[in-house]
């Protein structure tokens, strides 16, 4: 997967094409990974995903920003993304070329923010078998993820969020729908 990342600095806009991972690998994290860990408060004046990505997990796991490759997969335990509503956290991961986050459960605001910006957070019953650095392939439509040749099930996102995910995020979804009907009930 090759993504272009636009970067604006000092009024000069450059486009980088980062090196992709030939074989995406697992960045394994534990339970209760908070958004302060994903992007510390002192970097919240930054709004650019690529720039945020340089500080992802700074202070708690410095090698992430140094060696993550586009296409790699962030894996967490329970309650991934707890804490602050800062969208800078999923944006920092997006800026690093992350597309999927697989965890046993997600904190509510992070989960929604991730879908809104075009990332796909997927839940699986246990990430115990996901070794750090293992090769990983994610197949969301097939409902599975393969880690070092072994398959694990992933659950689909709720229907109303899937529509936003399918559009590529909430901005794209809003452009498509154009207007909203207030108090429409969608699904249980």
């Amino acid at each position: 997967m090759t993504e272009q990342i636009e970067r604006e600095s000092g009024g000069i806009r450059t486009v980088e094409v980062p090196r992709s991972a030939a074989s995406p690998r697992v960045w394994k994290f534990g339970d209760d990974i908070d958004t302060d860990a994903i992007i510390p408060g002192r970097f919240l004046t930054i709004n650019d995903p690529a720039e945020l990505a340089r500080h992802a997990f700074e202070g708690t796991r410095d090698e992430f920003a140094q060696s993550v490759l586009p296409g790699d997969v962030v894996v967490g335990g329970r309650n991934f993304g707890m804490g602050s509503s800062r969208e800078h956290a999923p944006l920092a991961l997006k800026g690093a070329g992350i597309r999927y986050i697989v965890a046993e459960s997600f904190a509510r605001i992070f989960y929604r923010n991730a879908i809104n910006i075009g990332l796909l957070p997927l839940t699986t019953p246990s990430t115990d078998g996901f070794a750090d650095g293992a090769e990983i392939a994610v197949d969301p439509s097939g409902g599975r993820v393969t880690v070092d040749g072994k398959e694990f099930p992933v659950e689909p996102v709720p229907e109303f969020l899937q529509r936003i995910a399918d559009a590529g995020g909430l901005i794209e979804y809003a452009r498509i729908v154009g207007e909203v009907e207030t108090c429409s009930t969608t699904s249980r």
Binding site: G41, R78, M82, S105, I171, A174
Partner: protein, 417 residues
């Protein structure tokens, strides 16, 4: 089947019977943005094709995380927001009023039965006035600014019934820390927590704000206190046009969980590093050396908290081994404390008193801690690196425990000072 308070809020605003688990596109009565998450929300609003916000009178804008601007990027972000407010006709409180959540309530921008969002996770604090209030990210906020509505999955309710009377020097912060320790950091994910019982109904608005503020620390979507006379007195002093109406869960309402707490036997509680649900009685960590004490924030920066801290301090001095930072949550709270002589007492005792803002809780503006240092804070999060170095340690406690610890230079039971 009866309805929960939260189901009633959504049903009332939608004009039809709405149940937990349903996903509704509900109208937003107010939307709050601040200097950290606001610039991204404005950008997403524009990227969605937004030209005019849905209703400028329903947008609350202010700056509290990095004020006065502590860097050029912070100044640029605030400048973007000032321009947007001017273009859109939004009342911008700028850096004048204080911490966002305190200001929203003080200015009457949230009321019983309303649906309020803020691009800050502690937006759940407005449940103190019986509003359904929840924190959202910047893209959801951009959507709400554009359309005046947002998707909500109506949450199930967890009820926390609190009985008994607080012993001296024990209060709402000790209660909410204890509840979080019991329910866990993700124990209420996607749910609303309803606080009720005699210990809540006898609590003033300041204490109810402390409770609801920290609902997010159990993963909750909202915290809410059923509106009563105390609520309506507070709200009607700010919104005299609103007539009180009954709003409470029905006796037969379907609850996801129900727990009871008796505060009569409580002792002061402390959340120890690095999770808010690592809660222990103060006696377990008493004697731990502290380098910095922060009394303030949306959680515990109100007059009542400052008065409690001053009462513990008495006519004593803070330890000269401790950096004591006191920050009232808002201009109003600052003035109340100033007029009561509390500010003078804190300054005499050796504290730094700063103008209303998020302060060290933000972990990026000022009051950061070095590797190996210990901060005891009345704020809401003790995550690794939250107040500076990831090698530092943050403990959370009440204003009383913070003041006692600042006097002794080590974590101290406020009943011993």
């Amino acid at each position: 089947m009866g309805s929960t308070l939260v189901e009633k809020v959504f049903s009332r605003r939608c004009g039809s019977d709405v149940r937990a688990g349903e996903v509704v596109m509900a109208p937003v009565d107010a939307a709050m943005i601040h200097d950290i998450t606001g610039p991204l929300a404005i950008r997403t609003f524009l990227e969605m094709g937004g030209e005019r916000v849905f209703d400028p009178a329903r947008v609350v804008m202010l700056f509290d995380h990095q004020v006065p601007a502590d860097s050029i990027p912070a100044a640029e972000n605030q400048a973007i927001m000032r321009r947007f407010a001017a273009e859109q006709g939004i009342l911008n409180y700028d850096l004048r009023e204080g911490v966002c959540h305190q200001v929203v309530l003080e200015k009457g921008r949230a009321a019983p039965g309303e649906i309020v969002i803020g691009s800050d996770s502690h937006t759940c604090m407005y449940g103190a006035v019986g509003a359904f209030a929840t924190g959202v990210g910047s893209t959801d906020m951009g959507f709400a600014l554009r359309f005046g509505a947002l998707y909500f999955r109506v949450p199930e309710t967890v009820r926390a019934t609190v009985t008994g009377a607080f012993p001296e020097r024990v209060g709402p912060k000790d209660l909410i820390l204890s509840i979080i320790g019991d329910i866990g950091a993700d124990g209420a994910t996607y749910r609303a927590v309803e606080f009720c019982g005699e210990a809540v109904s006898s609590m003033g608005m300041a204490g109810r704000m402390t409770l609801c503020n920290m609902a997010i620390e159990m993963g909750a979507k909202a915290g809410i206190v059923p509106p009563d006379e105390t609520t309506w007195d507070y709200v009607r002093a700010r919104r005299p046009d609103i007539e009180p109406f009954p709003l409470a869960s029905d006796p037969g309402a379907d609850l996801a969980d129900s727990r009871t707490y008796d505060v009569g036997e409580f002792e002061p509680q402390v959340a120890v590093p690095h999770n808010v649900d690592n809660v222990v009685p103060v006696s377990r960590v008493a004697g731990t050396h502290v380098d910095q004490v922060f009394i303030g924030s949306c959680t515990n920066g109100r007059y009542e908290d400052l008065a409690e801290a001053a009462s513990v301090l008495g006519d004593g001095q803070f330890s000269d081994r401790v950096r004591v930072i006191v920050i009232p949550a808002s201009r109003d709270e600052y003035l109340k404390a100033l007029r009561a002589g509390l500010i003078e007492r804190f300054v005499e005792a050796g504290a730094l008193v700063e103008a209303p803002c998020c302060g060290p809780c933000m972990g990026g503006a000022f009051g950061l801690i070095a590797p190996g240092e210990v901060s005891l804070s009345t704020s809401n999060r003790n995550f690794r690196g939250r107040q500076g170095s990831a090698e530092g340690l943050v403990y959370l406690a009440s204003a009383a425990t913070a003041a006692a610890s600042a006097v002794r230079g080590e974590i101290t039971d406020p009943r011993e000072v």
